[in-house]
Symmetry: C2
Subunit: 367 residues, 2 copies
C-alpha cells in the first residue's frame, strides 16, 4: 500500500494544482454580454433562459463570440460490484456490449451526437472485461482503474487512492482533448450505476433514499423497494462523509462517476463549458462541486431525467437544467440535445441586430 499511498499523495497534489487553475466566470464579459443582449431587436430579455445561457457562455469563455463549433461528448464507462445485489434488470455484460455499439456508431448517443454535430469519445474507466485492446487500437481512451468497483452493499466501491486516480484520469482526458474541443459533454455507461449515483445524491443532498431512488432501466415495484434498501445499506455500512467528496466517491461511487467529476474539473480548468447529462453525470458534478466549488461556473445542466434524485441534485447544485423530456438513458444523450441550445444561445449573442443597427424603435412608448 505504500506505493499506492505515494501515488495517492502525488495525485492529490496534482488535483490541488488543477483546482488552483479554476477561476469563476469573468464578470466583465458577463456584463458586456448583458449590455449587448439588452440592445437586441426584441423586448428586454425576451429569449429568457437562452439569454442567461449566452451570458454564462461569455463569462466562461471570456468572449462575446464564445466558440462552440467543436463539441465532444465523453462517455465514461465502468462496471459496478453492486449489480450482484440485483439492482438492475440488465447484466453487467451489457456495459461492454454497449461500448462496442458506441464504437460502431449505433447507440442513442451516436445518433443524437451526429444530429448536434458533436463527436463521441468513449473512455474505459473500469469495465469488468478488460478493454485495453480497444484502447491500444485507438478506438477508445483507456484509463482503467480496475475491473469494476466493489459491492457497495458490503464495503467501499474503491480505495481512496483509486478515487483520486479516477478523478485524475478524467482531468487527463479533458487535458488531452482540450486543444480540439470548444464544448465538452459528459456521458456514462455502466450497468448498475444509478445505484451509486443515487447513494451519492442521498449523501450530498441529505434526502432519504426512499425519496430519491428510481427505477433505473426498468425495475418493477418490488425491485424498486429492494434497490432502496441497497442504497440505504450502502450508506449505513460505508458511512461516507458528505463534506468529503473523495470519501463519498470512494465509498459509494463508481470509476466512471469519478471520471466524469474529473472531466468537469478539467473542462473548468480550461475555461470550457461542460454540458452535464443525466443522473450519473450529475452525481459526477456533485463530486466535482464538492472538490472545487468554482467548477459550477462552467457547468450547463442539460436536462432533468425521470429519476427522482435528479431534481434534488439540481436543487443542491443551484441550477435549473435546460430540458425536461422524460428521458432516462444516460450515455450523454441529454447533453447532445442541449448542444443545440448552446449553439442557439451563441447565435442570439452574435447574429441578432441591435435596435440602432436595424432602425427599429427600441424605446418602449408609454402604454
Amino acid at each position: 500500500m505504500q506505493c499506492s499511498d505515494k501515488k495517492s499523495n502525488d495525485a492529490v497534489n496534482y488535483l490541488e494544482a488543477v483546482f488552483r487553475r479554476i477561476y469563476p466566470q469573468d464578470s466583465l464579459f458577463r456584463d458586456k454580454a448583458v449590455h449587448h443582449l439588452e440592445q437586441l431587436t426584441m423586448p428586454p430579455w425576451a429569449l429568457g433562459d437562452l439569454m442567461d445561457l449566452a451570458v454564462d457562455l461569455a463569462g466562461m469563455t471570456r468572449s462575446l463570440e464564445p466558440p462552440v463549433a467543436r463539441k465532444k461528448i465523453v462517455v465514461m464507462t465502468g462496471d459496478h460490484g453492486v449489480t450482484a445485489e440485483g439492482v438492475s434488470v440488465y447484466p453487467s455484460e451489457v456495459t461492454v456490449q454497449m461500448v462496442h455499439n458506441f464504437i460502431a456508431g449505433g447507440a442513442g448517443i451516436n445518433a443524437l451526437a451526429r444530429q448536434a454535430g458533436a463527436e463521441v469519445v468513449v473512455v474505459d474507466m473500469g469495465t469488468k472485461v478488460d478493454l485495453s485492446e480497444l484502447a491500444a487500437a485507438g478506438k477508445i481512451i483507456g484509463k482503467r482503474i480496475g475491473s469494476g468497483t466493489g459491492n457497495i452493499a458490503h464495503g467501499p466501491a474503491m480505495t481512496r487512492t483509486h478515487a483520486v486516480m479516477a478523478v485524475e484520469a478524467g482531468i487527463e482526458v479533458a487535458e488531452e482533448l482540450a486543444s480540439e474541443v470548444d464544448v465538452f459533454g459528459t456521458g456514462d455507461m455502466g450497468i448498475g450505476n444509478t445505484t451509486p449515483s443515487t447513494a451519492i445524491a442521498a449523501v450530498m443532498t441529505g434526502q432519504d433514499a426512499a425519496v430519491l431512488t428510481g427505477r433505473g432501466t426498468g425495475l418493477d415495484d418490488e425491485q424498486l423497494q429492494h434497490k432502496i434498501k441497497i442504497v440505504e445499506k450502502a450508506i449505513a455500512i460505508n458511512r461516507p462523509d458528505p463534506k468529503n467528496a473523495l470519501d463519498v466517491l470512494a465509498k459509494v461511487g463508481g470509476f466512471e462517476i469519478g471520471g466524469i467529476a474529473g472531466l468537469i474539473i478539467g473542462a473548468a480548468a480550461h475555461r470550457k463549458p461542460v454540458v452535464v447529462d443525466g443522473l450519473i453525470s450529475t452525481a459526477g458534478a456533485l463530486i466535482a462541486n464538492g472538490l472545487e466549488p468554482f467548477v459550477r461556473d462552467y457547468i450547463i445542466y442539460a436536462h432533468r431525467s425521470v429519476e427522482p434524485a435528479h431534481r434534488f441534485m439540481h436543487e443542491r447544485l443551484g441550477k435549473k437544467p435546460l430540458l425536461d423530456l422524460n428521458m432516462r438513458l444516460g450515455e450523454g444523450t441529454g447533453a447532445a440535445l442541449a448542444m443545440n441550445l448552446i449553439e442557439a444561445a451563441v447565435a442570439v449573442l452574435t447574429e441578432v441586430a441591435t435596435f440602432a443597427d436595424a432602425g427599429v424603435t427600441g424605446s418602449p412608448v408609454k402604454a
Copy 2:
C-alpha cells in the same frame, strides 16, 4: 356586401374542401414506429418524449423515415387596432420595422432559424403600412386582408368574410410552399397581438382574463391591469361564440392569427408536421382546432412561454410543449429551437441499432 358574401361563401366551400383532405395520423405507421423503437439498444422508451415525437412524426408522414430536412418557418405579420388602447409598450410602427429586420436577416428568428437549418418566410397578412412592394419584389409573400384590424375594445377585429379570407390565405401559403417543405413552423409579428391572442384563449378555454393576461413585451403592474380590462371589454362587447372558431377569429382575433390557423390547416392537409410557436401561434392553433379538430394530429407544440395563457391553451389542446425556457418573443423562435428536437427524434427512429443488430443483450434479466 353581396360581393363579399359570395366571396365568403366560396371561401367557406374552399375551407370545407380542405378540411375533407385532413385525416388523423396513420395508426399503422405509429404502431410500426413503436415496434421498432422498442427494439433499440436502450431500456424501454428511455428517450421518453423524443420517442413519442418520433411516433407522431411516423404517424403524420406515413413513413418510418420521416423527411424533416427542409424546414420553413412562416412568420405571419399583421397590425392591431387595439394598440390604440395602450396595450403594448411598442408602437405599431415596429411591426413593419421588424419585417425589414426579418428580410435583412437580423432578428431573433433569423439567428435561431439559421442554427436549426430552417428558412424564414415572411407573410404580410395585414400590416398598417402597405407592404405590397416588398411582396412584388419577392421579399415577402403578400396576402394582405386589410391595413390592420379594428379595435376589439370597441367592435369586431374584422368581418366574417375577412376572417375566412385570412384562414384561406394561410392555407394558400401552405399550398404554395408544400412541395419544398418537410416541416412547417409558425411565427408571428404584430405589435399588440398578445391582446387578441389572450382574448381568444379566454373565450376558448373558459378561463378569466385576469388569470390569462400577461405582460406581453413588458407591461408594468398598472398597464397589466389595464390590459386585463381591455381583454374583458373586447369579449363583453363582441360576445364571440366559443363553439364557432370563425366567429372568435373575426370578433377578437387578428389577420396574422387567421393566417397561422390557415397555415396549420394547410400543413395538416399535406400531412406535414407543423411546429407551433408561442402564445400568438397557439391562438392560431386554437382557431384551427376549432375549425377542424383533426389538425391536432399534425401539430407539435414547441414551447411554453412566460405568458400565463399559454399553459391553459396547451391544456385545452391536450398536448404538452417540448421546451420551457422562459421565452416570450414569438416570431417563431420557439419553433426554430424545437426543429432540432424533431431532427433528433428522427435520428433516434432511423439511426439507432436494434438489440439484434448490435449483439446487445436485450431481454432484461430478473433483477
